[in-house]
Amino acid sequence: MNHEAALRIQAWVDGELPSPADREVAAWVERDPDAAALATELRHARSALREGEPEYSAPVSREFYWSAIERRIASPRTPQPQAPAAPPFAWLARWFVPAGILAALALVLMLPALRDQFAPPVKRASEEVESPLDDISSVTFRSESEGITVVWVNAR
């Protein structure tokens, strides 16, 4: 058995193989005694480790152990705890993103009026405008004949 084949058996024992390869190795281990023996040995080593993890205790008293930690925490050279740093301009994003969304919506709503103001009058039965925003999509329906504007806002 070559090294790559042995590693495949190990990966199978560890559940690291994807489904088709997993079935292939299972069938191989089933019919090949050498492969089965290697899988058994690897399983024994794994279960011995998992069941028999050695336990160690700190060989100093709780007070002594803590006192060194406390000293290091209090040391002026030790950086003091800080809240996770927010990305730069996060505060700006917090206020400007909603404001931007509202402005875009307002623009969408005003588009027909602006167009009527600056474009030559064209009689249209209806029109749809889609918002390019990722988080909020909106579709505007305007009926000139009915004189109404309907806006669908879809927040994802």
């Binding site: 058994t40 690897l42 011995a48 993890e53 803590w66 930690i69 800080q82």
Partner: protein, 208 residues
């Protein structure tokens, strides 16, 4: 009835009986006594991981204490995705890996290096189908595992610790040890076969 507005009453913590989550929350708010209680509860576990990797008491004490200092500094980053002790264990593992890298102890040297990448002597050995720890008391299994682990190189011991004790996948171990998945698989294979052989030697020396 008094006319004075009542202050919101702050929940008082009974430190010895409080749950870890409550102590962590208090420590995140700056309560050093709560943090001390956490250290007292979990110091052995954190020390044990450091010792299992470094195999040296002084280094293990120093690195585990350093881990607690880092834990205090980064406590705000702990969001409770894993248990607090698991989080602290990962902190100490990273410190140990850094220390081993600095001391270049994670390199598998010369012949052992070539052996470990190719499967080595252990590759040629017939598989041991007898369970080398069968019938042993748990305490005896622990002693033998400890003895066998102490005879492995740092690189091989570390990969066993991360895979078997910490339950990390190949990919995660490769990331932490800064090497390829193929290298991790080879090291793990070598380490397991070597460990099996060492346990079998101990079984023959000290039969149950």
């Amino acid at each position: 009835m008094s006319g004075r507005p009542s202050k919101p009453r702050q929940k008082r913590i009974e430190y010895p009986s409080a749950a870890d989550e409550d102590l962590v929350r208090a420590a995140q708010g700056g309560d050093m006594v709560a943090f001390e209680e956490l250290v007292g509860r979990h110091r052995d576990k954190v020390y044990a991981r450091a010792f299992s990797m470094m195999r040296n008491e002084d280094e293990a004490i120093d690195l585990s204490q350093e881990a607690w200092v880092k834990g205090w500094q980064r406590l705000q980053q702990f969001q409770g995705e894993a248990s607090f002790v698991t989080w602290m264990t990962r902190v100490v593992i990273n410190l140990c890996l850094d220390a081993l890298r600095k001391q270049k102890r994670l390199r598998t040297e010369s012949i052992e290096h070539m052996d470990s990448e190719s499967g080595g002597v252990e590759r040629q050995m017939p598989p041991l189908i007898i369970n080398p720890t069968e019938g042993l008391e748990r305490q005896e299994v622990r002693q033998r595992i400890d003895q066998a682990m102490s005879q492995l190189s740092y690189a091989h011991r570390t990969v066993l610790i991360l895979h078997e004790f910490e339950g990390l996948e190949y990919k995660e171990i490769a990331k932490r040890m800064e090497c390829s998945i193929g290298t991790i698989m080879s090291r793990l294979f070598y380490a397991r076969r070597r460990l099996a052989a060492l346990l079998m030697d101990l079984k023959q020396e000290r039969p149950t």
